[in-house]
């Protein structure tokens, strides 16, 4: 099993070894070294994915899934998608999910970059830096769902925000759009996922050679010019990794959209979950494969812009 996957993973080091020492035992070593990780990937990633792909072609009824080869599940996913004026469920769902991706990405970047910048460049002491960095991760000590649900009493029709605004006389009628709306979903996403942006960007910034910045100043660059022409380009890998984190998290999410959107907003994850709970595993598998393809395409597009391997 592992032999099949090994060459791909251990390809590069194997070649260098070959040129140096053609002796047999030495050649095997890298394979062995990579084997545990490869095995984990094969067992927990490759095989489940292949099973999902396989099941997506099966037939099903109320209580069983039947081995077969049918494209019906995919046909169901894309039924009526040719019509652009009134998009089908799948297109609508993806558009809505993509909208949240874009919004979340924009806001997490806007919040995450300055925070990372502050941590990396303004805090001088290493100890304080680490302490503040750990502070950012403290919210992760409580569950995702709890952090999300805690917004509800704040944003509700008779929630804290509406009550305060009303007692201050700012508004007369409560703002309905605060909860169970695109706003509340985006807010929760930004709250939950900003850290995933901060960490990789901070990591990139920490590795920037300070003399580069000094050089920029010496060459007469203003603060903004330094930021834009020196810091940002060097942070690209961090931004890219953060983006990948946020994108994949938002694309696959259905709990946040469900809770904060009052179950009224569609998400791909929710569609899959409903189908799973109705034992329509092949249909859910087909949806999962489409989702996977969509996410992979987005990440592929991203890596075309930034060559992650080279930057790291």
């Amino acid at each position: 099993m592992s032999d099949v996957a090994l060459p791909a993973l251990a390809d590069a080091p194997a070649k260098t070894e070959q040129t140096e020492t053609p002796a047999r035992p030495r050649r095997r070593l890298p394979y062995l070294q990579a084997a545990p990780m490869a095995l984990v990937f094969v067992v927990f990633l490759a095989i489940p994915l292949l099973l999902t792909l396989m099941v997506s072609f099966w037939e099903y009824n109320e209580y069983e899934i039947i081995p077969a080869f049918t494209l019906q599940n995919y046909r169901d996913v894309f039924e009526g998608c040719g019509n652009l004026a009134d998009p089908c469920t799948t297109v609508r769902t993806y558009l809505s999910t993509l909208k949240f991706c874009a919004l979340t990405l924009a806001f997490t970047l806007m919040v995450g970059f300055p925070v990372a910048y502050f941590l990396a460049f303004h805090v001088r002491s290493r100890a304080v830096q680490m302490a503040l960095f750990l502070l950012c991760t403290i919210p992760f000590w409580t569950s995702n769902v709890i952090r999300m649900i805690s917004w509800i009493p704040l944003l509700g029709r008779n929630g804290l925000v509406n009550d305060t605004l009303r007692s201050l006389g700012v508004i007369e009628r409560p703002i309905e759009g605060l909860l169970y709306s695109d706003f509340s979903v985006t807010l929760a996403f930004v709250h939950l996922y900003t850290v995933f942006m901060i960490v990789p960007i901070f990591n990139s910034m920490a590795r920037i050679d300070r003399s580069l910045i000094e050089a920029a100043y010496d060459a007469g660059a203003t603060g903004w010019q330094t930021l834009w022409s020196v810091v940002v380009p060097l942070c690209k890998p961090g931004i890219a990794i953060g983006t990948i984190f946020v994108l994949t998290l938002v694309m696959g999410d259905f709990v946040t959209v469900g809770v904060m959107g009052g179950q009224q907003i569609a998400s791909v994850g929710k569609v899959i979950q409903v189908q799973m709970s109705y034992l329509q595993f092949p249909a859910a598998a087909a949806n999962a494969v489409v989702l996977l393809a969509a996410v992979l395409m987005m990440i592929l597009g991203l890596t075309r812009v930034i060559d992650l391997r080279k930057e790291l």
């Binding site: 099903y60 109320e62 209580y63 069983e64 169901d76 469920t89 609508r92 769902t93 809505s96 509800i152 009493p153 509700g156 029709r157 008779n158 929630g159 309905e176 909860l179 169970y180 469900g258 959107g261 009052g262 179950q263 009224q264 907003i265 569609a266 929710k270 569609v271 409903v274 189908q275 799973m276 709970s277 109705y278 034992l279 329509q280 249909a283």
Partner: protein, 421 residues
């Protein structure tokens, strides 16, 4: 039990304990035999009360380990992981999925002491001699199996019962009378633009669509052949109406979980919504006015019951039967009745309730004294009457039952379309 001597598990265990203490300790088997049985009880959180588990531990020495999941998940587990529980508490409608999978065993009616006292709602589909609505998956349609391991339902009574009823009720809309300030008498009010942005429906497709169907019929637009088994065209029609309402901003949110419905109602986010009886009770115990409003078109009923996985054998199987017998013997029934549910064998529950409680909950009479919930919290002051009246009035007005449709796959797809709209 068969030889006429009444052994309870408790006396047996005590016996085993004394035997163990008196005689020399011979080895592990004896210790093992005295070990209390644990039953893994799969069901929805609403039915899984800590009080019942405590009481059964006290009475029978059986430990109940609850596995709380949502309605659809119960079915899924029963079909995909039949070894993960020892006792299932599931809705009758999901039998249409579970029974063909062959994962549950018919219950031997001869081992259920009160089997012949189970209310005729289940066995014949009638109450006090009067037939009740049987649209959808009415329990009488799926109550008996052809054989113990049969995969098809029997049309006439057999000795193999699919599920021994635990609880059942007639569902309707919950309203906030203090915020609506006028009488509500019809299901159509759910989509009345007057309540724009303040209505909710539950996001469990198979149940949500039935509530929607009640609304459609109430508007007089269309009458279904069987609300619980729609044709594709009927599903389209129903979903179209829901989509129009959703796009017009009728719904504040959808709910999927009991507690979500409580929060929506208690916080005033919604004033009218699909609701379950104990949720209404919970809103009321928070001091918020909430009515489980009887409507002229009738109720959507549901029922859950105990089933046995076919892998259950030996002491666990015996313990499961003991537990089910205990459940029907009165204490649990009285407990459920005090929550606003109904129990399978009303006459045993009656023995465990005060006469004034029975009169309030089951006969629809004004409360003689203050009515307390099973947790001791005050539910109603003396003089109040139950929404919808007596057991016979409520269950007699059932219009349809929760169901699995033949076109279920199509329905779920259309429901996803509604959520995405």
């Amino acid at each position: 039990m068969t030889n006429g001597i009444k052994f309870t598990r408790r006396t047996l265990l005590q016996g085993a304990g004394t035997a163990l203490a008196a005689g020399p300790i011979t080895g592990f088997p004896a210790v093992h035999a005295a070990e209390p049985v644990t039953l893994r009880y799969l069901g929805t959180a609403v039915n899984q009360s800590g009080d019942i588990a405590r009481k059964v531990k006290e009475d029978l020495g059986i430990t109940i380990e609850y596995i709380p999941v949502v309605t659809d998940e119960v079915t899924k587990r029963a079909v995909t992981q039949p070894n993960s529980f020892d006792l299932i508490d599931t809705e009758f409608f999901s039998l249409k999925k579970i029974v063909p999978s062959g994962n549950i065993l018919g219950m031997d009616a001869r081992r259920i002491k009160n089997a012949d006292k189970i209310t005729p709602i289940f066995t014949k589909g009638e109450i006090a001699g009067k037939a009740i609505g049987d649209q959808g998956t009415a329990p009488k349609k799926v109550f008996y199996l052809e054989g113990q391991t049969g995969k098809s339902f029997a049309s006439s009574p057999t000795e193999w019962i699919t599920l021994i009823p635990t609880t059942y009720n007639a569902d309707t809309l919950g309203i906030r009378p203090d915020l609506i300030k006028r009488p509500i008498t019809s299901w159509r009010e759910l989509l009345n633009p007057e309540f724009k942005g303040r209505a909710s429906i539950l996001n469990i497709p198979s149940i949500g669509i039935m509530d929607a169907a009640m609304v459609v019929e109430a508007t007089g637009d269309y009458t279904y052949g069987d609300k619980g088994n729609m044709t594709k065209a009927e599903i389209d029609r129903t979903i179209k109406l829901l989509i129009e309402a959703k796009r017009a901003g009728q719904f504040r949110a959808f709910w999927q979980d009991f507690n979500e419905s409580v929060n929506l109602m208690a916080s005033g986010e919604t004033v009218i919504q699909s609701m379950w009886s104990p949720a209404v009770t919970k809103v009321r115990t928070q001091g918020v006015a909430c009515t489980y409003q009887p409507l002229k078109e009738g109720y959507r009923a549901w029922a859950t019951g105990f089933g046995l996985p076919k892998t259950l054998t030996g002491r666990k199987l015996d313990a499961a039967y003991d537990f089910v017998n205990w459940f029907l013997s009165g204490w649990a029934g009285a407990y459920l009745n005090r929550q606003g549910y109904y129990s399978a064998v009303p006459e045993t529950a009656k023995t465990q309730m005060e006469p004034y409680e029975w009169a309030y909950w089951m006969e629809g009479k004004p409360a003689e004294k203050d009515i307390h919930g099973p947790d001791g919290g005050l539910l109603e002051k003396a003089g109040a009457t139950r929404d919808g009246g007596s057991f016979e009035a409520r269950m007699g007005a059932v219009a349809c039952w929760n169901a699995v449709m033949d076109e279920n796959t199509y329905m779920v797809r259309k429901w996803n379309e509604f959520i995405a709209a």
